[in-house]
Subunit: 132 residues, 2 copies
Amino acid sequence: MRIGELAATAGVTTKTIRYYESAGVLPAPARQASGYREYDHRAVDRLAFVKAAQAAGLTLAEIVDVVSARESAGAPCAHVAAVLEQHAHDLERRIAELTTLLTQVRQLSARAKTLHPDQCTPAQVCHLIPTA
Amino acid sequence: MRIGELAATAGVTTKTIRYYESAGVLPAPARQASGYREYDHRAVDRLAFVKAAQAAGLTLAEIVDVVSARESAGAPCAHVAAVLEQHAHDLERRIAELTTLLTQVRQLSARAKTLHPDQCTPAQVCHLIPTA
DNA sequence: GTAGACGTTCCAGTGCGGGGGAAGGTCAAG
DNA sequence: CTTGACCTTCCCCCGCACTGGAACGTCTAC
């Protein structure tokens, strides 16, 4: 199949497929005499994997890591597991940061409802956000 | 004070100060005869505000919005409050998304510990990440 | 033979928040 | 007078994951 059909099947654009090839998540396919890229079902599987891995929060660079480990050393399950574990940690940290931030923003919003505008000084820009 | 001293006082780089000026969060300062930028204490206050607003999760564009409202229409508290409220909503949504993601990643990690590598098929790249 | 649907390469841009470095002007100290 | 620190403007660069467009080649149908 050619790139357009692959794109339609996988639900991505042809641009994305070429980009993935340049990024290393898709292997360079065979070429027809015309120079057109020629794909088989493995490319469909690979694109499905990429989408699933992205949905799990992996970056393209991490996916490259995983698929290249797959190609060079067989089943990369341990590698994938490590990447996932790292990602879980990152997510937890990020969620904690955002939760702290949300608390702060909520406090500022609460202050917005109890203070009067004439309590602003020019140095503060707005009393809602403490500069200290 | 000149830009270097302001930068040291505020804890940013001179690059950042010029960038902020171009972005509209800092007003264009007076110039010395030499062409050097000449700042006073208000610039220090403003930079402190920008840092505080960034810590509260506002983007530079939103800060521009707030400070220009301040300069054109006096105390922008209601405006700031609306921006904060919007931000709180965004944060809640983002936290919910990340929490969902974390659950998925945790499930995959759990599977990694119960499955064997020889259950991988090439089409899957790795059984840890379902492609269906 | 020609239209148009598809393919190719390469270059450039998006949004965010700056950072790097060149080429040159200014200022204080020794 | 020269050195070195500081300042100026200018334009390009980063990561991230693409997307858009130009200019050109190829294939199929009428």
